[in-house]
């Protein structure tokens, strides 16, 4: 028999310190968890974990505060950017971020996100676009794809009466006070790595006081899409990415020229 012995072993990856020891309530394979992980890893690497204040929103991520090992508040539906404003204005040297779904940010919270961005609040927004209302059981979101069936568009989103998906990264990019607005996806390792880089850039921009930063992440909802976790990733790649092109919609010069001491 042949056995393998491994020497000089070192840890290549481990659960981020920024996480508590609780198991999430997310469905198996839901990429909300991936997004959480990237945020936690980033704050760890930047040494910001103990200097951060997170603002959880209302949606499947309502309990995200349970999973991040840092100070957290829980906002009303859609109002996380306003709540973050109230915090950041009195604690300007903390890393303040919101974590919001597409119903939260792009539907009920449209005014708050637009104005936080318009004011150039020096906060970071992690925006989970899964094209659906996860928590309430699969209703149409402002980002639901045309023709996509949801419990409130049972025959598929009818663009005549229910409109077209909103592309938030592009919309926010039109605002002068935004320093960073990009879209990434969580459907495969390469894209996940890019997403993490973007999250890092966003927090770095905040650390330097460059103003509002937002990372939109295309994310899955296996449960309400009625798919396996794997098929969900394929759906992101094949259906969502074409409708929500990945890319940098706004990166101001000050952000472009940031030198990041990579962790």
């Amino acid at each position: 028999m042949l056995t393998t012995d491994i020497q000089n072993a070192k840890v290549v990856y481990e659960r981020p310190e920024g996480f508590t020891d609780l198991t999430t309530h997310y469905c198996p394979g839901c990429t909300h968890g991936t997004a959480h992980r990237l945020v936690a890893e980033t704050l760890d690497e930047m040494g910001l974990r103990e200097h951060s204040i997170g603002v959880a929103s209302v949606g499947c991520s309502v309990f995200s505060y349970n999973y991040f090992d840092m100070d957290f508040v829980q906002a009303a539906h859609g109002r996380a950017p306003a709540m973050a404003t109230g915090i950041k204005r009195v604690f300007p040297d903390r890393a303040v971020f919101t974590y919001q779904g597409d119903g939260d940010l792009a539907s009920i919270g449209m005014a708050e996100i637009m104005h936080a961005a318009g004011r150039g609040e020096n906060i970071t927004v992690i925006f989970i676009n899964n094209a659906i209302y996860g928590m309430t059981g699969g209703q149409m979101a402002p980002t639901t794809l045309p023709g996509m069936k949801t419990t409130s568009s049972p025959n598929g989103r009818d663009v005549e009466t229910q409109g077209y998906p909103l592309r938030m990264a592009e919309i926010l990019a039109t605002l002068d006070a935004v320093s960073y607005s990009v879209r990434r996806s969580l459907h495969d390792p390469a894209n996940i790595r890019k997403a993490k880089k973007a999250i890092r850039t966003a927090f770095e921009a905040q650390r330097r006081g460059l103003g509002f930063s937002m990372v939109e992440l295309l994310s899955s909802c296996p449960t309400n899409w009625g798919m396996t976790p794997l098929d969900s990733l394929a759906f992101i790649e094949q259906k969502m990415v074409p409708a929500f092109p990945l890319g940098d919609y706004k990166v101001v010069d000050a952000v472009k020229s940031m030198k990041m001491k990579e962790g």
Partner: protein, 78 residues
Amino acid sequence: MPVAGWIEVNEKFCKGCELCVTACPQDVMSLDMDRLTPKGYHPVRLHVEGCTGCAVCAVVCPEAALTVFRGDKILAGV
């Protein structure tokens, strides 16, 4: 000496979603159908040799359930 690795699965967190299984470039992972986690899922495991410690599995894991190790591989005959 060739590089080698292995993973540890924290069964408290693993939900058996199989995203890592598909992502693993070495195809060395699979669900352990004989085990159930406390939450009632079949956890993932290394079912065959060949892990390189590349950590791609950890990159895709939504639950941060994996720890990845890497080291120098020594083949020892018995």
